[in-house]
Symmetry: C2
Subunit: 207 residues, 2 copies
DNA sequence: GCAAGTTTTAATCGGATGATTAAAATCATT
DNA sequence: AATGATTTTAATCATCCGATTAAAACTTGC
């Protein structure tokens, strides 16, 4: 978990916290070091004293967010004790819970992946090694059993799309649907239950 | 349709074209007027000569993109001649086709909706009046017939999520799945067929 | 082909912004 | 309390970038 705002935290941590807030709200380019100074209530020069440059600070914040985004997921997908359906359910729960407390993350990640894909992809360990995960074995078994012809990528895309997109598009959806912040959160709680069911339906629909 | 690059187009149009390219690639904040000048091969001062400011130029480009994004959709959803299933199918087809030729639009819209939601929402006519559309009547009929309890917002979210998100996240998904541009387009063509079926499944699943 | 308007150019301005600096304030050690 | 190290501050620098300007290069109408 990312550190929460506290009373007795170091200056360095205060800067990182403020930077995370502002970077996530406005993206890298639109953020001025002065914004971070203001947000943290600290002197401008401290940012360059503790972190050498704006870019360096951003990289550090970025890395922590990516780690948060990826945390537990690999273990979850590699657990031999849970079924495939359970894994999907756990994954959706994990992400919706995480996004409910950090709703700006999807935008942030999409933003940086889009504006500088090469840097972004190299920064986070996008090195594959997905084939070894236990869920892949389970998927192959399911394909044999039920004669499913659907590409697994579609299922992955659908799961992530339905889970993450409502957070990325929250400002638009909220405006269009006239939902309060609370109602929107309630809606996401509902989706925590529903999305795994919808995915199961897609999987059980043999060809 | 947005104007395509041509041989005999006015300077004004050249600037707008270049601006669209760069704004969509980098977002408003990260774009310098000098980038637009370079992209168009024109003198820097022409941007301020034809459009008074960077912001003004952005607003114009933005408006055109939003219009493209919203074009035909209202008519489609208000057509009394098509069934609800057909409407969803047409909607998905329309958007995937549009996004295949303009894959940066989702990121662009999400970006601006997030960084300055108030400006964005006021700019595009987010004024509701959704209730009058024919599809709403059809939805209500379906609810009566099949005793569906699912919130319509979930279905809307799912349709848009599954359609749009794979484009917004394309750089990440492409990297993770090692798919070429062609294969990725092929995947989207498949989704054109599949998404309406998945949505139908969700709808037919009574409670 | 010349005058009036229009478009394009190179040069420059002024404010914003990332970064630095040198001095002041605070803290730690004895 | 005195000394030295660390942290914080206000002021400043250098560069970037949106915008302007004045003159040059075109175009149009006669």
């Amino acid at each position: 978990m990312l550190p929460s705002s506290d009373s007795t935290i170091s200056t360095e941590e205060k800067i990182k916290l403020a930077a995370r807030t502002v970077f996530m709200r406005k993206g890298y380019a639109a953020t001025r070091t002065r914004d971070i100074a203001e947000e943290s209530g600290l002197n401008l020069a401290l940012i360059n004293y503790y972190f050498r440059s704006k870019e360096n600070l951003f990289n550090i914040v970025m890395l922590e967010i990516c780690q948060l985004f990826a945390s537990n997921v690999k273990e979850l997908l590699n657990n031999p004790e849970t079924t495939l359906d359970q894994k999907i359910e756990q994954l959706v729960h994990h992400y919706i819970d995480m996004l409910l407390s950090n709703p700006s993350i999807p935008f942030f990640i999409l933003n940086e992946a889009h504006t500088s894909p090469d840097i972004f992809l190299s920064r986070i360990g996008m090195d594959g090694e997905m084939e070894e995960l236990y869920i892949v074995k389970q998927w192959k078994e399911l394909v044999n059993e039920k004669e499913i012809t659907i590409q697994p990528l579609h299922i992955i895309l659908n799961t992530i799309s339905m889970t993450v997109f409502p957070f990325a598009a929250a400002p638009i959806v909220r405006a269009k649907s006239n939902l309060s912040t609370d109602s929107y959160q309630q809606l996401m709680e509902e989706r925590k239950i529903m999305i795994p069911k919808w995915i199961s339906m897609m999987l059980s629909n043999k060809k």
